[in-house]
Assembly symmetry: C2
């Protein structure tokens, strides 16, 4: 899915940039162990092999494998087969979620003339895989028929429908046409349905992803006129199987009735810009407002006029189907119960060479490397889990069900989650990362070479953003892929890794094939090798360092920065004492935390710490993470339990940091702001007590 695009802006502070050069994530190793670790990491990096990445890529992208289909079942077996060969503990975690499948669809102009419009990509001679795709479809669309006049709704965002209302344009009974971009497509459908639309067409505009961006497939990599972005349009107050929120979607799970779940009711159909041009070019109403014009060669209009009528019919089957996660574990040498998890989904809308497989192969290649070194007797202290998730595309289902099934153990023992959905898309690394993980990721970036660049990932990144006057920063992590349940439901710090720098997109289309990937991203697997190394290095440090290298101080610092912004907004301004008090608490925690952690680190490095004390420090570090959870969950979204991060509620695209306060600001709700401040205050107090006990223990012994 990965509908949250990689953001290179964010909140990494100069402090954490310095960490990148200081290698703080290694500082709790005693000197000899550190040297051994560095050798181990180098050996892991040596094992990230382009030829094998390519081989795995070809194996997994050989056929379409939509969740719940036979291709999906074969893909699951292929991945399980690889993991088994690696002597890992392999779990095929089978689930039975409500999925959907396309039966048929039609879109036609019925007046003033009759024109049937294509809903399928043209197979290309240059790409043998391009003939095997389904029709274009948006999973969970309502089934049925609609016909009416046409309204163009720009990106179909909240503000776009507000503009339509301001212009006096009624969507009731109309076919709304909206372009991809600006929000998660599910919100387009939700807003269109709320506005009374009879049906919705979502299309890829050439200004956003087509010829105005660059040459189109097959000459270039951008969307040609028939290229269709598929994708789910489910938007619920939780992730995962729509019928089993909060519990595992086992075969016999107690399910909600489908009628109780707010799935889309109107027909929704994605299209390419070629056929949609036929509709838009026939519109006769007023010209669009500023910012609504797309890249088709005429002035866009808001209304079609009463002579233009479009009919659409969508038929889909919603059904409980079987699919599975494949989860392989490399047991840790000394703390096997503690888990560092990396994963990417395996299901795709078609072949999925880019989405997800260019990330999935990095997970598998990482598993090979860890496994090979384990066979030589080298393995990290903690366990490393390699996961290929099912049915991500339908609503981040597989990973969510696994987290729901394992939540208690994960909350106790999970160190961190690294997500690699569609991760190897170019030579330029980036990521959205929980604050406490940023230092270790930056450290690793300073050791991995960047492809096609003389220097490390960190140096390439610095040079690139430095050219624009910036410094490398991580994005805030929120929704959009398989980290959501880990981060927001179980309080596990998470990173979503990605890379960019290729000219093109085949996103969710029939052209997301090996041929497209080789032509557009390249056939040398340099980006995939980089991403394998980035994730292996991050996982290895998290799994090996005596003191778990998660820096909660960065989260407290980030909280201060976020509060600084939020405090400017009315409902928080009114809480005159509340927000500043949180700020003071976070500053205090950050100072005390830095002191406590650096003392513990120094003792660990000097060998002046007992195993019990070390265990207590690491328990505290994980406890500080989990303290952000509120079991009652967020307002109106109880499944989302992190007070620190969530997906946003208005576009599905953004991360909301401190979502309780952010929501209060967006809704201008002073009461919610007061509640949010109180809950955060409780979390900070709990963290303060955890720090106290740590400091107290240490003080008794050595100061």
């Amino acid at each position: 899915m990965t509908h949250q695009l990689l953001s290179f802006s964010g909140s990494m502070t100069l402090a954490s940039i310095c960490l990148a050069q200081s290698g703080a994530s290694l500082s709790s190793f005693p000197p000899e162990a550190r040297a051994a670790y560095v050798e181990y990491e180098k050996a892991l990096f040596e094992e990230a092999r382009p030829d094998r990445l390519r081989e795995t890529h070809i194996l997994l992208a050989q056929e379409p494998h939509i969740a719940g289909t036979e291709g999906d079942a074969r893909t699951i077996e292929r991945i399980a087969g690889i993991f088994r060969e690696l002597n890992l503990e392999v779990e095929i975690h089978t689930i039975w979620p409500l999925l959907a499948e396309p039966i048929s669809a039609e879109v036609q102009i019925i007046a003033p003339d009759t024109v049937n419009l294509d809903l399928k990509e043209v197979p290309l001679r240059e790409d043998k895989y391009s003939s095997q795709a389904t029709i274009g479809w948006n999973a969970y669309s309502g089934s049925g028929e609609a016909a009416g006049e046409v309204v163009y709704a720009n990106y179909g965002r909240k503000q776009d429908f507000e503009t339509l209302r301001r212009l006096g344009i009624d969507c009731t009974g109309k076919i709304v046409v909206a372009r991809y971009g600006g929000n998660y497509r599910g919100f387009k459908a939700k807003f269109a349905e709320a506005a009374g639309a009879a049906g919705l067409i979502i299309f890829t505009d050439p200004a956003d992803s087509g010829y105005m961006k660059g040459l189109t497939y097959p000459e270039g990599g951008y969307a040609n006129d028939c290229c269709i972005q598929r994708g789910s349009i489910m938007t619920l107050g939780y992730q995962g199987d729509p019928l089993t929120p909060g519990i595992e979607a086992t075969r016999d799970a107690k399910r909600r009735d489908e009628s109780e779940v707010a799935l889309p009711r109107i027909p929704v159909q994605p299209m390419g810009y070629g056929p949609v041009k036929e509709i838009l070019s026939r519109m006769k109403g007023q010209a669009v407002p500023d910012g609504w014009q797309g890249g088709l060669p005429f002035t866009y209009r808001v209304t079609g006029g009463d002579e233009l009528r479009v009919r659409m019919r969508v038929e889909q089957k919603r059904e409980i189907k079987k699919t599975a996660n494949v989860v392989a574990t490399l047991r840790g040498a000394t703390h096997p119960e503690q888990l560092v998890i990396m994963g990417a989904h395996h299901d795709a809308w078609n072949h999925g060479a880019a989405d997800p497989l260019c990330g999935t192969i990095a997970v598998i290649e990482s598993a090979r490397a860890f496994s090979k070194l384990a066979a030589e007797g080298k393995r990290p202290a903690r366990s490393v889990v390699f996961a290929a998730w099912g049915a991500e595309e339908f609503g981040i289902i597989g990973s969510t069900e696994w987290v729901e099934a394992n939540r208690a153990n994960l909350m106790k023992n999970a160190v961190a989650y690294i997500n690699l959905d569609m991760a190897s898309m170019g030579p330029q690394f980036g990521g959205a990362v929980s604050p406490s993980m940023r230092a270790v990721v930056a450290d690793v970036a300073a050791t991995v070479p960047a492809p096609g660049f003389t220097g490390t990932v960190y140096e390439e990144w610095s040079a690139r953003v430095g050219a624009g006057g910036g410094v490398p920063t991580f994005g805030d992590i929120g929704g959009g892929s398989d980290h959501v349940a880990f981060l927001c439901h179980a309080g596990i710090p998470s990173a979503g890794f990605g890379s960019s720098g290729s000219r093109g997109t085949s996103y969710h289309s029939a052209y997301d094939t090996l041929v497209w990937y080789w032509r557009t991203v390249g056939a040398d697997y340099g980006p995939a090798q980089m991403m394998t190394r980035m994730s292996m290095g991050t996982a290895a440090r998290l799994a090996s360092a005596p003191i778990i290298p998660l820096d909660q101080c960065a989260a407290w610092d980030d909280l201060g920065k976020q509060l600084g912004d939020l405090m400017q907004r009315p409902p928080l301004k009114e809480q005159s004492a509340g927000a500043p008090r949180l700020l003071l608490q976070s500053v205090d925690l950050s100072q005390r935390g830095r002191g406590a952690l650096s003392r513990a680190t120094a003792h660990a490095a000097a060998g002046t710490i007992t195993p019990d004390e070390l265990a207590a420090v690491n328990r505290t570090i994980l406890g500080l993470e989990r303290a952000w959870l509120s079991e009652a969950g967020l307002p109106e979204r109880p499944w989302f339990k992190s007070l620190y991060a969530s997906p946003d509620e208005d576009s599905g695209y953004d991360a909301w940091v401190l979502p309780g306060l952010r929501r209060a600001a967006e809704r201008n709700d002073p009461e919610a702001a007061a509640v949010g401040i109180e809950l955060l205050g409780d979390a900070l107090s709990a963290q303060s007590r955890l720090l106290d006990s740590l400091t107290h223990n240490r003080n008794e012994r050595s100061e």
Copy 2:
């Protein structure tokens, strides 16, 4: 011409905004005279009549009237006829500049296939005037033939040709295709020629002025696919007739030889986006870099490849031709030698309903109003001059020749110049104004009602820019229209008034007709009425107030602000003492000037000033303006004599404030910076002495 677009950003300070509400431009009137003046101004405003503006518009836009043609001669007679009827002193100031006329042109694709491309707009049933235009042409193009491969150069700016060089693309012998926008078209030709191009095609891109901006003509007002922007491509180090720099282009003037003048040598042809699409869509080379994509429905490419060849042939005749300015004077009541001048050109590329006539009619309507009240015995103290300039479109020729012919008298007696080129284009007022004139213009804006808005021009302006968080500001005035010779050659403070807010452009095309104007700007002449009132009010105050309301302090304040910016740039940073010294001088002048002027104003209002003293104050005020002149002129542009303002040298679009320092900064030339600082220091010292004498005189008498 008006190639400097109206800019609403600029350097009007909060101080001058307060002046707008203080009515400072009236404060030197004794109370009774002030009341009488206010009545007079009101009566003038009453005389700005939409029906007459429309009538004049129809009279002057009835036929094409390119400078030097028979239509031009008839237009000159028509304007002179109106002025004569108004009992003004009318001068038909005949000049003989080097003009050009189109003979023929052809552009064709000659390989891989043969396609002849249209170079003329399609006549429209909806617009009876649209059939009378010439072919598209760029005046002063080289005549001849060229054929070759194609290179696309984006906007043909300095940085675009630098990008081509960086990409390793050689323009030698190629047909360069560049789009309009981003600079003055003459620079596109200059840079293309310098890069070795064999020929240049300049086209209007739909992303900049066509369907991507809004509906096209005739349904809307934007450029349709055959719409061609004509215009001159002369770029010399001076304005006016290319053969007689610095002197009047009389019939027998001593002329330069045409071969000594750097007129374009390669053929240059403007085109619409319909025919240019045929060329661009056949290009086969690499895709364009970021920011180069236009609005045609395919990816633009930098090179055409060796299979695509274009041939072009342009034939123009350059010839010394007769044309004229029409200059009408309303004698002032008490100081007829002092001149407030307003003007707009009368020549056009075709009918010129928008450019220039919607401004020209405001000049003529102003003349009517002043004349009518003069007939009733009411006239300002100083003379008001109403000018319709010839051959502006070829190179700001008529006004320049008139200034060159009258420079000595103008430097002694001209108070200010107000330019109204193409001024009435919508309900939203704006202007680029010399700092010393800003207060009086803002004062007038606070008295003129805005069309379609309940409130004044100043209130509409505040509401509009306030919505974006800004305050009304004037743009810096530099090049682009008939104020240049006044401002830069004779040191006369100038204003370029304009208005906007209509959806469309017919700029320099066959569609610049009455029908286009009525459909796009409107047929109610509200904007023209507003612009008539703005210019009448400004002229009347400048011509009537006992103390000329020019506030040099605003210029010194602006100098401080400009220096603040320029001092950040290397060559001025190195002049460690020079720029700060200028800054101190300007602060001192501003403080002393404010004191001296407010004392003089108070005495004038109280009637405690003698006529001789008043005359001395006004001489000082004009002397302060002229002190910005340096007879040696700017480096490599000796015709430009103002140290305060000039057109820029790199794009022809910007104003350069403090051009000596600005050029030094752009060229990174510390030596030039030192010279520039010294010259400005001299100017400030001269102004200081002028202020001294004024203060000294006043002190002796009354303090």
